[in-house]
């Protein structure tokens, strides 16, 4: 039994690790191919920006110099607003 168990463990290790390596290697190849194909044949017209739903983060960084005091006031306002909504 213990002999078989070690055999089973070895099998699991060799074929398991092998599968992981093979699969991820294929994934690397597929990914490289995909990126190449997309950037070659379907390039995005615009420079790769964040997508619409999150575009606000762009303005966030551009406006990162919003002064701290203003931010505190706005936060307070938001909290008040929320508190009232409840």
């Amino acid at each position: 039994m213990s002999d078989t168990l070690i055999q089973q463990g070895t099998d699991l290790m060799l074929f398991g690790m092998g599968s992981v390596l093979v699969f991820l290697t294929l994934l690397v190849i597929a990914t490289v191919f995909m990126s190449g194909a997309l950037n070659r044949w379907f390039p995005e017209a615009e420079p790769p920006v964040e997508r619409k739903g999150r575009s606000s983060s762009a303005s966030a960084s551009s406006a990162a110099q919003v002064d701290k005091k203003k931010l505190a006031i706005i936060k307070a306002a938001i909290e008040q607003h929320r508190a009232r909504r409840r």
Binding site: I6, M17, V20, L24, V28, T31, N39, P43, P48
Partner: protein
């Protein structure tokens, strides 16, 4: 007066056994680690609390109706249950419990009906376990939410970091050999399924570990989940010494090229490519990686923001609460207070250490070939433990060179490690089932 005697007999103190008491202390310890030390609190707070509740003596919260009937039922109940299992009417409760644990689905259903007829009901946490883990759904839903929170950008910018995520999974398989070795040497008694479930701790990925052990070794699930989450929280202690030992100062200060921008389309197509590859090659990994890819596609496709938001918030939080409590139900004294748990804790930390080492070594090995060198410190992030391991890479890098920000570079192997351990999980489930 009888009433007071009965209430006292029923009270916890009277029924408390040494093991149960210890498990309540274990639950309190988990809460302490989670709240005070910040050990993965999102899971360990529910797990710790579930552990205490599951071990409340006399409450039977983690027991099925039939288990409770066996546990506290009178002679008549036991006789009826004995009939279900086809044994003599005076079979002892302990014997019936053993029969119950190895019963067929038909017998279980019949025993359940008998217990219902005598007024017993499934315990609350037992119900949570059946619905959340027994069905396999909760870990998958959490994986979907994790997918919806994952940004594959850094990985797509530098796909060869996938190899780091692959290498770090050697921790899983080396640990299997360790468990098998312990078993073969007679120190412990792990089956091959147990060994595989213990190995998955090395995947450093909570839902994957719970999913695999719920299938391969449900009895060890509690200890495995606790070990997995605890060591994920201990990554900042476990990894740095190994990383420093395996790298030279000149390697650690190595700066990496800035990552190229990744287009939105690449991010949308990647989860589909991954799913198709899984479909073609590795159907056994389909549930885990399928839900992961689905979550990620919802995030990236940009047209189902509201589904993605729910997957990342209400849904994953709800599932986490019940998953955590359910895991607690597997922290019963009878299964946790066993030398196996020591083995699991020991093997778990070894798994993390080997995974870390292999990730670093793979990076050094790859540097023999590739043009754009890889800082070996990001190899350790291949164990997953997102995002802790990537932060550790960054921190150790900054120690060597205060200008060397590795965080984004380490996110690549970090998410690769999630894919890698899900692949390993699929392979193991499929191979062990056939053994």
């Amino acid at each position: 007066m009888d009433n007071f005697i009965r209430l006292w007999q029923e009270s916890g103190i009277n029924q408390m056994e040494w093991g149960t008491f210890t498990m309540i202390l274990v639950g309190l310890l988990l809460l302490f680690l989670a709240i005070r030390k910040g050990f993965e609190p999102l899971l360990l707070v529910p797990i710790g609390f579930g552990c205490i509740m599951a071990n409340i003596p006399g409450a039977g919260l983690a027991m099925s109706a039939a288990q409770q009937a066996i546990d506290v039922g009178g002679a008549k109940v036991l006789a009826d249950l004995a009939e279900v299992f086809g044994v003599a009417a005076n079979t002892s409760a302990d014997e019936l419990l053993k029969l119950y644990k190895s019963a067929s689905a038909t017998e279980l259903a019949a025993a359940h009906k008998v217990a219902l007829d005598y007024g017993y009901a499934n315990g609350m946490i037992y119900t949570f376990y059946q619905v959340a883990i027994g069905s396999g759904v909760a870990p998958l839903v959490i994986f979907m939410g994790v997918g919806a929170m994952t940004d594959f950008g850094p990985l797509l910018a530098n796909p060869k970091t996938l190899f780091l995520g692959a290498a770090a999974q050697f921790g899983i398989f080396a640990t299997i050999m360790g468990a098998v070795g312990l078993s073969a040497s007679g120190l412990m008694d792990f089956s091959i399924a147990d060994a595989a479930a213990i190995g998955i701790i090395g995947g450093a990925d909570g839902p994957t570990a719970i999913y695999v052990s719920s299938i391969l070794a449900p009895d060890l699930l509690g200890a495995i989940a606790v070990a997995a989450y605890s060591y994920m929280a201990l990554v900042p202690l476990i990894q740095p010494p190994i990383m420093r030992a395996l790298t030279s100062h000149s390697e650690r200060i190595m700066k990496m090229e800035q990552l190229r921008p990744v287009s939105r389309r690449e991010k949308i197509v990647f989860p589909i490519v991954l799913l198709v590859l899984v479909a073609l090659l590795l159907p056994s990994a389909a549930p885990l990686l399928g839900m992961f890819c689905f979550g990620n596609l919802m995030r990236e496709c940009g047209v189902v923001e509201r589904l993605s938001d729910t997957a990342q918030n209400a849904l994953i939080n709800t599932t986490t609460i019940f998953l955590g409590l359910a895991v607690g139900s597997k922290l019963a004294a009878s299964s946790f207070l066993d030398s196996k748990t020591l083995g699991i804790l020991l093997l778990g930390v070894i798994a993390f250490a080997i995974g870390t080492a292999m990730g670093v070594l793979m990076a050094k090995f790859m540097n023999l070939f590739v043009r754009h060198k890889i800082n070996p410190l990001i190899g350790s992030a291949g164990v997953s433990a997102v995002p802790m391991a990537a932060r550790v890479s960054n921190k150790v890098g900054l120690e060597a060179n205060p200008q060397n920000y590795l965080l984004m570079h380490a996110m690549g192997p970090n998410v690769a490690g999630v894919i890698g351990s899900a692949v390993a999980a699929g392979v193991m489930i499929s191979m062990v089932s056939a053994m």
